[in-house]
Symmetry: C2
DNA sequence: CTGTTAGCGCATTCAC
DNA sequence: GTGAATGCGCTAACAG
């Protein structure tokens, strides 16, 4: 026979301790002004412990219209980068009495809006939106209500919302640095596997590549720039063709670089001997394949996001802040000097 | 001047529509028995739309002690496997009026307990716990309360909680099949990079390896079995030494296999020529490195988990179910027949 | 058919 | 120093 007892309420504690509900509230919340006798305090605490009393968060949130909850909206779970930022936010907020909940949109704007509305219907205090190529253009479906509801909103990974607090990597310089690395190795024909023009991160990374090439006075053949999306990559043939035209490829994302490694391996193009490859993001698996890539300081970004959120909760009308984080380049085995032009070895595509 | 209006309540709708709050509730919830005139219904709906009324989920949840929310407790975000299962649960539940929220424990049992308690304090309807090597032995810190609170609990990835609904892969057979694949290629000295004895998945994968070897009448030298944890892998040297003693290594996890690939590459052991390598899990990056691995049917597992949860919510006393899912082996380029014993090429470690 | 009333669990203002 | 009364927004008995 399972005990179907209702869970204990503060009233139950009050009854057991022979005091009023108010006193229980005062004791358990350590309320300042209230001068409760030591004897009463002890009796209340004993009663609460005895019953295993825990305050009902719903009742409190309903009363205050505040739930001490922040939600984090992400396209999917699959990114070391996102994971790091979320962990940073989580660490910051959980140490300050807030909890962080996550939902995934699966790149579906309708689902995203539903998820956020559900949060707004539950007195959420803050929303962190991780920009997504697909849903970005639909954020206004929910963002306007979030702002009207005085909820602290913050966006990660895009500069396209100047009215909001935002946290981003310095994508331009990150891309520039990794391209400089290739240039310093002696590469002159360098390709870029980009991710289109929807995400400012993609645009910035392409821009960084262009700047590096320009500063080195290396011309860019426009056929060296391919890729329109983080999500759908160019065909194997397009990637292969690019590798035949250049001696190095900078990819705007590690996942894209991973795909490049696969294609080149399958077609007999050796990395880095025949073609160097770089990524962006330092995903967990990149050491395993020796991919040279760009490290983003995800923990710091997350902590900063947490700070901005709490500030915004306190001061809704303060001017929005954009925080940009420098990156590092981590050099592994996927980059090396290009083959000398007269090398005996021929690229398979040139045979 | 920001409008600081309180968000509209059902009472506001009632006032605007000139009806009582009850009528608003009946209309908006399409309550069966109540026979509301078409005219009234239209007036209420118009008023609700005009005010942009949305019901407050907190009030409802407080009243019913039910929030139509399920929480999912995961060690971290970084796993294609977890991602797939969570997506399956999400798809199933969101189509049935529930929402799925996720939290991460970062392998910290204290944090995990806090997170779950916060959910229990908010009338969560179900909990999905993804077994984790570190927190598994502490689940009773919160599990007992969850069960007493009549919350539907389900565990993924471990058979160690026979009292609970559980969803697992057929790890024994998955591991056995991938080992059989190596045996059929002609390997006789096969090593296993395991993950200890805490997680039943790790134990089962080791067991599957042993069964396959036994059935093929291949003896196992106990020095071929290394690895005590999913989280902390053996040293590079240990991995290298293992590769010198065998012609193939089955890893209990893709991440471990990835590490093996890195070490072998760094030390000049060619894969698959000198040593074949297999993983487990079909993580997103495995195609990029051509890793032969075991595919788990994550979506189906998630859907099944969703079904079990809803069943359990309806019938708390039903006998617990364990659902086991078959796996597939996906063969890529990291496995090949062993070198002939008299091969001219020598392993670097044997030189 | 619709409105009045009560109460979910809590914090809080105001008496005593 | 402590307690009675109020209301957050909602649904659901129960009247009428």
């Amino acid at each position: 026979m399972v005990s179907m007892h209702r869970r204990p309420s503060s009233r139950d504690v009050a009854r057991l301790a022979n005091v009023s509900q108010t006193t229980v509230s005062f004791v358990l919340n350590r309320r300042e002004g209230a001068n409760i006798s030591e004897e009463t305090r002890a009796r209340v605490e004993k009663a609460a412990a005895e019953l295993g009393y825990r305050p009902n968060r719903l009742a409190d949130a309903l009363l205050r219209n505040k739930s001490y909850t922040v939600c984090c909206v992400t396209p999917s779970r699959l990114s070391t980068y996102h994971a790091g930022v979320v962990e940073g936010i989580d660490n910051y907020l959980s140490a300050r009495g807030y909890r962080l909940l996550s939902v995934y949109t699966h790149h579906d704007p309708v689902r995203e809006a539903e998820q956020v509305h559900a949060f707004l219907d539950s007195a959420v205090d803050g929303i962190v939106y991780f920009a997504d190529e697909v849903t970005l253009e639909f954020v206004d479906n929910w963002l306007s209500r979030a702002i009207e509801s005085n909820v602290a909103c913050l966006v990660v990974d895009t500069r396209s919302r100047p009215g909001l607090d935002a946290v981003v990597s310095d994508d331009v310089n990150g891309s520039r640095q990794v391209t400089d690395h290739l240039i310093s190795l002696g590469h002159e024909r360098i390709g870029h596997l980009g991710a289109g023009h929807v995400m400012s991160t993609a645009v910035d990374r392409l821009e960084g590549y262009r700047i590096a090439m320009k500063e080195a006075q290396l011309p860019i053949d426009e056929s060296w720039v391919i890729g329109n999306s983080y999500l759908s990559l160019p065909s194997d043939q397009e990637i292969f063709d690019l590798a035949c035209r250049v001696t190095a490829i900078t990819a705007a994302a590690d996942d894209s670089a991973g795909k490049v490694l696969q294609v080149l391996k399958e077609r007999g193009v050796r990395v880095p001997e025949d073609c160097s490859v770089t990524g962006f993001g330092n995903q967990e698996w990149t050491p395993w394949v020796g991919l040279t890539t760009v490290v983003q300081h995800t923990q710091e970004m997350g902590i900063s996001a947490g700070q901005l959120l709490l500030q915004r909760m306190g001061e809704l009308s303060a001017p929005p802040q954009l925080r940009t984080f420098a990156t590092d380049t981590v050099i592994r085995q996927s980059t090396a000097p290009p083959r000398p032009p007269d090398s005996a070895h021929r690229m398979p595509c040139l045979i």
